[in-house]
């Protein structure tokens, strides 16, 4: 208990160092571009593949489990859409990102810590936390909501593909379902959630990396911790945000 309070305190202090005005705006934007590429753009393929398949699977599962002939078939499309937009495209994708970019960030910053590269920056008078971490957080918070949109879109396409391929319901039933009782607000809700998750993943991973100790083993440990802690936080915040927003 005392340990975790201490961690929260240290996390807060680090974030205060991170959220300061960058020494040079131009350097910040350059890093922002680099991180956007590394954290977000490079994640599109894996997110895309997962979303296509999950979209297809959700459609099959829903169709197979709706044995009741009185429920119109178009509800399969409706349910798939709701599943995707409400939970899958934000929470599930965030968990995948926690593994992919969380471990990447923690090990990158952690190895810079143990090889004294972070000390070297501090010695130059550069705010290392600000230079290394702020661009990652900024890229992740501003752009991961678009990952959610991409995931949603591809999930629906995956569903459509399986509908056409297997004929489990007709394509027009599927499309009718997708359009049924459509609430744009849900998409905003999901994008907001994703921005919060993006912050959690990057800041938590950066935190564990920044305070890594104990050689390369320590770097490994800190990236494992980063994934575990950010995954749990994602689930907790999912609950909290759902209560707050919906």
């Amino acid at each position: 208990m005392k340990k975790s309070l201490q961690l929260i305190g240290e996390y807060y202090l680090l974030m205060r160092q991170v959220f300061q005005k960058p020494d040079k705006g131009r350097i910040f934007w350059k890093q922002y571009a680099v991180e956007s590429q590394k954290l977000i753009l490079d994640s599109i393929p894996i997110i895309g593949i997962i979303s296509l398949f999950i979209g297809a699977v959700i459609v099959i599962q829903t169709a197979n489990n709706m044995g009741n002939p009185f429920i119109p078939k178009m509800y399969v499309g409706y349910m798939a859409r709701e599943c995707l937009v409400l939970e899958f495209c934000s929470t599930m994708i965030a968990l995948v990102l926690a593994g992919k970019i969380g471990s990447n960030i923690a090990s990158e910053i952690g190895s810079m810590r143990i090889t004294e590269q972070i000390d070297a920056m501090d010695m130059m008078g550069v705010n290392s936390a600000n230079y290394l971490i702020l661009p990652k957080i900024a890229a992740s918070v501003t752009l991961s909501p678009f990952l959610m949109l991409i995931s949603f879109f591809l999930g629906l396409i995956g569903g459509a593909a399986i509908v056409i391929f297997t004929g489990i319901i007709t394509y027009s039933q599927y499309i009718d379902g997708l359009q049924f009782a459509f609430k744009v607000f849900y998409i905003y809700y999901s994008m907001i959630k994703m921005a919060v998750f993006g912050f959690l993943i990057t800041s938590v991973a950066a935190f564990f990396g920044y305070y890594a100790t104990g050689g390369s083993l320590g770097v490994g440990r800190s990236s494992t911790k980063a994934i575990v802690v950010s995954s749990v936080l994602i689930l907790i915040f999912d609950l909290v945000l759902t209560e707050l927003i919906l």
């Binding site: 020494d23 090889t115 004294e116 590269q117 000390d119 070297a120 501090d122 130059m124 008078g125 550069v126």
Partner: protein, 250 residues
């Protein structure tokens, strides 16, 4: 001038530095020698402000480091160049970008001006045609030299080197030592060097301090070191049988 009075530092209750007082002058190479694990790195990092001492004062001219707010500390750090034990080159950047790194932050120079300075610094450490290489493609000695080039990029008033020749062959070691001494004298830098290499001590030590489990046991010039009466120092200096034999002849 750098001056420290009665420094104390411990980690998790384990004392690493106790009651260390030093004074270093511009244009001189001051050495800190001692066995590995004796606290040299901790002393160096405490002197530059990477670690906060538990007690004591550190003065840079008339600035009290231990009392500076983070902004003034940052300003002071711009005047300090540091060479780390493992060189600590940024592995995401080329040699030239490493040396240019502090310039990007703290100067408004044009790219040509920066390149001119980068090439000057690299030439000063006898490195040419490596501008576009990544640190991992260089030998240990070359990495150290890039580290020095980066440390002097913005004309520091103070230079700290943590074991500049650990892991280097004797001739490369001497090359690096001489380089540091030349730079120190040429620009009137206050230089502090950690080492456990006796060759460096005799080669470049204007002033030598010996630390033994966190205490400063002996201080003097590199000439006096061979005549000292301090038992721990003698054990350190004349560690090998060969050296003991030589000493008995002198």
């Amino acid at each position: 001038m750098i001056k420290a009075n009665h420094l104390y530092k411990s980690f998790d209750g384990k004392p690493v530095l106790s009651d260390i007082s030093i004074e270093y002058k511009p244009g001189e190479c001051s050495l800190i020698i001692g066995a590995s694990g004796s606290g040299k790195t901790v002393l160096l990092k405490t002197l530059v402000g990477l670690y906060k001492p538990d007690g004591g004062e550190i003065w840079y001219e008339n600035k009290l480091l231990t009392a500076l707010d983070s902004k003034s500390k940052k300003e002071l750090h711009k005047e300090i160049g540091m060479l780390f034990q493992g060189s600590a080159l940024f592995d995401f950047a080329t040699v030239e970008e490493n040396v240019m790194f502090p310039m990007n932050f703290f100067t408004d120079w044009s790219l040509e001006q920066k390149m001119e300075r980068v090439n000057f610094c690299l030439k000063r450490v006898n490195l040419e045609n490596v501008n576009k290489k990544m640190p991992s493609e260089l030998s240990g000695g070359m990495q150290k030299r890039v580290g020095i080039a980066r440390a002097i990029a913005l004309n520091p008033k103070y230079l700290f080197c943590d074991e500049p020749n650990s892991g280097l062959d004797p001739s490369t070691s001497i090359l690096i030592d001489n380089l540091i001494r030349e730079i120190t004298q040429e620009y009137g830098i206050t230089t502090v060097i950690n080492t456990h290499d006796m060759n460096s001590v005799l080669e470049i030590g204007d002033k030598v301090g010996f630390i033994y489990s966190g205490k400063l046991l002996w201080e003097g010039s590199s000439r006096d070191i061979l005549k000292s009466e301090c038992r721990e120092l003698n054990d350190f200096v004349f560690a090998s049988k060969m050296a003991k034999l030589l000493k008995s002849y002198v």
